[in-house]
Amino acid sequence: MSFLDLDEFLIELAQKVEIVFSPVVDVKEYPRDVDVCLIEGAICNEDHVEMVHKIRKYTKTVVSFGDCAVTGNVTAIRNQLGLGNRENVLQRAYVEAAQLNPCVPEDKGIVPPLLERVMPVHEMVYVDYYLPGCPPPAARIKSFVTQLLEGKELHLAGAEIKFG
């Protein structure tokens, strides 16, 4: 959502890039020969594992975008519950907090099996650049994307890499 705070820069950006895959692009399969991929969120289930490997294989520059991708952030708090936290999480979400039909969905393809622990992206694949922030403020995204488009060696320093 912080991306939308780029306001009119989005129009400028749209003329320079082609968005080939995103939650708002109606493409189901991750394409090949992608220049840059901004990955949001941590790796928490088997679908993510498959996806992140595919992204790495087909992408030149992979960016960990935001604290969840860089650190695991709030989504990794379940790791503190130790091994077996998967069951606790599903129990809490689908049984304890449910108002109707409390049961853990077990049919295949409904809820991707959760991993034992949530991981930052770089624990699974090589990451070229990191853009921390929760969310990264629009100015930081703009500075980052501009440098990326100019094809320079990226340099973010000081408060531009502040977590949180």
Partner: protein, 240 residues
């Protein structure tokens, strides 16, 4: 007192005998990053962020606990030191559960500020995700062990400025923990005077005023300085 002459990053300086490298550097306008150091209480060299290189000494020395000597050649910002500082910070982040986005000290945290000023954009080590609790039993203050870096500032202000001796360290290594009295809930402590100096001294969000939410925990160190000045110089004056 006799003066010692030495060099810091190639610059010739003089410092009082008995001064630490950190004090000498500060006087010469050279900034050395610190985390466990707190003006007004003695130093323990716990955090290892102020490590410096001294020519002729094979190991790195903490600037806060090493005294100056004649002819010392000190480097404070070599590539090696920058590498180790970043490594130390990453290990601190990996050891407990530092979730800046939901922390009371977000934006006012010394650990967070040091991390970005030292160029830490991610942590290369696997996070430990230990299970630590929060002690919310005190009427005014809370302690979140997840965010504690064991700098022992709170212990030192409690013993040596307030003189209450409520805060202590128990356990060893990664199991070490700040405790109150004989490892009891803070709210049941008989020795705590509710002075809040520990809360003022904390560099992270581990100690906080109850009721503060994300990014609201700001500290006013001038209150500690005021007391230290009064005690050391017998002057009841604020610094600014």
């Amino acid at each position: 007192m006799a003066a010692k002459t030495l060099t810091i990053n190639g610059k010739q300086i003089s410092a009082e005998e008995g001064a630490t490298i950190l004090q000498a550097a500060e006087e010469a306008g050279v900034k050395i990053p610190t985390l466990c150091h707190l003006d007004g209480v003695y130093d323990v060299g716990a955090c290892r962020l102020c490590l410096v290189e001294v020519t002729g000494v094979p190991k790195l020395l903490p600037a806060c606990t090493t005294k100056v000597s004649e002819g010392m050649e000190i480097k404070t910002d070599s590539e090696q030191l920058q590498k180790y500082r970043r490594l130390t910070l990453e290990l601190l982040f990996a050891e407990r559960n530092h979730v800046c986005a939901v922390c009371v000290a977000n934006g006012h945290c010394e650990l967070q500020t040091l991390a970005y000023s030292q160029g830490m954009d991610h942590v290369r080590y696997d996070y430990c995700f230990p299970k630590w609790g929060v002690d919310n039993t005190h009427r005014l203050f809370g302690m979140d062990h997840n965010r504690c870096i064991l700098c022992t500032r709170c212990v030192r202000v409690c013993w040596h400025i307030e003189g209450a001796g409520t805060k202590n360290v128990a356990g060893r290594g990664s199991k070490a923990k700040i405790i109150t009295d004989l490892n009891m809930p803070w709210g049941e402590s008989g020795s705590c005077t509710n002075c809040g100096k520990c809360v003022q001294s904390c560099p992270t969000g581990a100690l906080f005023y109850k009721g503060s939410t994300v990014a609201e925990m700001e500290r006013d160190r001038s209150r500690l300085e005021f007391i230290v000045t009064a005690r050391e110089k017998k002057l009841w004056v604020a610094s600014d």
